[in-house]
Symmetry: C2
Subunit: 354 residues, 2 copies
DNA sequence: ATGAAAGCGCTAACAG
DNA sequence: CTGTTAGCGCTTTCAT
């Protein structure tokens, strides 16, 4: 069995109080006593039991992290940021992913609460529906939402301007000459952030008098995507010449599906995603997208939470800046002509001007 | 302050022992007592303090997870599997990523040990160098390595046959007519598994009398890759016609870099990765790769760890099956001719026969 | 500067 | 069936 503070005390012929003081550097300890204690600790390989300490003090130096899925790199990046910041402040993470399962969400938060995490960082499926933020607020447990876009700013949140970004995407696409816009949203459609992105996008389109973008909802990524897109692109004259996808993963799949339908991106259709996941920059064509500073968002959320724990009062909502990257997957609209029926293989790729 | 077991006991006019029995369903409690206790619990919103419980019992129902990086989806997938299995067994995860930093590795493991996790699931940078497995073994803390490929099987490990897979890749490439093979490895080269993959690959090549594949080592993914590859592909006659990358992320970058150098994959160069990350199937061309059952590996590791905790003795090493997927990024070798200097844009893509 | 002792919230004998 | 009580390992007054 691993040595306890009592073992150390005995071996050093001091009281446990002294050992405790030495270990935590709280209160004076004479030099020679310190020497003996240090020796005992090393001999015994003593490491203070954090569980016992946590029970004694009233905190755990532990943060709960709950996100929908690690599958999406955007969350993985945020967790990396959370991890970095938390560790550098002496906190360790209790982590769970919920797979967008509402019940799991509350179950997992309850468990984390049982472990008495000092605070929680979470992105819930839909912050306008989830009971969790209110539950946390009532319980008096510090927390901050990340990525979520509550319609009212009553919960601490780190996010980007999803509406504004959606609007910018519309502007950019219109600027490239596109007139028939579409949006494709995945499981995220039932999510506050996807909603916001769509609203901004549709507004942007409306502002230019374009007819409302069609919204294509897809349930699962892989096989259905092609089937969903096929009928739409059977009629090229009416099909969107530019597609805004609610996230990068989806955008990548859409590009693939479009390719398999014989359509070239960006020559035939422009595609733009959301998130700015790293892999997008390595693709060919590179992925046009709205970049969220995910890692930074993770850090910011952690910092805010820690500040809150320290009693500082922080701004309720922090909007981090996003960046629109017009990668190669988005290009100028080309006028449709009967020629579009001919599968010309010229690779005149449009490249963004720097 | 949140209610304690004592508050409940008082309100229900019973002893704490009875409340404890009721909560943990250990020992009989009369119906009417149960009724009162339940009422008190609900009224007070009592939730047992897991920290206190953990101190009392000698376990924490907590598992430590340490992996190099969440940046690589392959780890994210494994963590998802760990999360699923652990949660279904009532365990929660303490998570940290180390960014391949050796010092961080031991620091983080120490912290996890301080929190008295019941066991650890980890992939260390290089299990043949890391002190951690031995440290854990000596400390008597249950653990299992995942993805690692220790040269001697003295640590519980869940992995795939990296050597065999590397060998198969060589065979497959040779079967496609390739004679000049190359391997490109990233930060992973200082890793046991990348080593194993390379060994298998080189052996496979040697078996067919091919000259030893060149090994291209790259430090960072993004910009340097092109610079590294450029001089090699300046001389097409000697440059590898097929590249085996130590992981999928790297393979995707290589394909991108090659493209920017004016080389087409798979027409000019075949590229095959390792891991089987999901995004690979959505690319165009789809990524050829060795699929590891990452999610399953995470689950298997967790199950094995839990079994070990339960006292069952498990096989030291468990090798899960991998699958070679010849995606579109790997195709038949084309004989070089002076024509290769001409940038012909025919899109005659090779597709794997099912 | 150091020790004694009372908790932190819960579990688990041991009595009754 | 239920209550008493002694820990679990550490922190923290309060004395000395």
């Amino acid at each position: 069995m691993i040595a306890t503070i009592r073992d150390v005390a005995k071996k050093a012929s001091v009281s446990v109080a002294t050992v405790s003081r030495f270990v935590n550097d709280t209160g004076r300890v004479s030099n020679e006593t310190a020497f003996r204690v240090r020796a005992a600790i090393n001999e015994l390989g003593f490491r203070p039991n954090a569980v016992a300490r946590n029970l004694s003090k009233s905190h755990s130096r532990t943060l709960g992290v709950v996100i929908p899925s690690l599958n999406n790199p955007v969350f993985a990046d945020a967790v990396a940021g959370i991890n970095a910041e938390a560790r550098s402040c002496g906190y360790t993470l209790m982590f769970t992913s919920t797979d967008y399962n509402l019940e799991d969400e509350v179950r997992t938060v309850s468990t984390l609460l049982d472990y008495r995490v000092d605070g929680l960082i979470l992105t819930v499926a839909d912050s306008n529906i989830s009971l969790i933020p209110d539950m946390l607020k009532n319980a008096g447990v510090p927390y901050v939402l990340i990525y979520n876009q509550p319609s009212t700013y009553q919960h601490p949140t780190i996010t980007v301007d999803n509406i504004g970004a959606g609007w910018e995407v519309a502007q950019a696409l219109i600027g490239l000459g596109h007139e028939r816009l579409g949006m494709v949203a995945g499981q995220f459609l039932a999510s506050d952030r996807a909603d916001a992105r769509r609203d901004g996008f549709i507004n942007g389109a409306a502002e230019h008098g374009l007819k409302e973008p069609i919204v294509i909802e897809v349930d699962f990524v892989s096989p259905h995507l092609e089937k969903t897109l096929a009928p739409i692109y059977a009629e090229r004259e009416t099909a969107p010449s530019a597609l805004f996808c609610s996230n990068d993963l989806l955008a990548i799949s859409v590009i693939g599906a479009l390719g398999r339908l014989g359509l070239d991106v960006p020559k035939d259709v422009s595609v733009i995603g959301f998130d700015g996941i790293a892999v997008g920059t390595h693709l060919h064509p590179t992925l046009a997208t709205v970049i969220q500073p995910s890692y930074e968002m993770g850090r910011a959320a952690t910092r805010q939470l820690l500040d809150r724990l320290a009693g500082k009062d922080c701004p309720m909502t922090k909007i981090l800046p996003h960046t629109l990257r017009i990668g190669e997957s988005a290009g100028p609209a080309t006028k449709l002509s009967p020629a579009f029926l001919i599968n010309s293989n010229q690779k005149k790729q449009w490249r963004p001007s720097k």
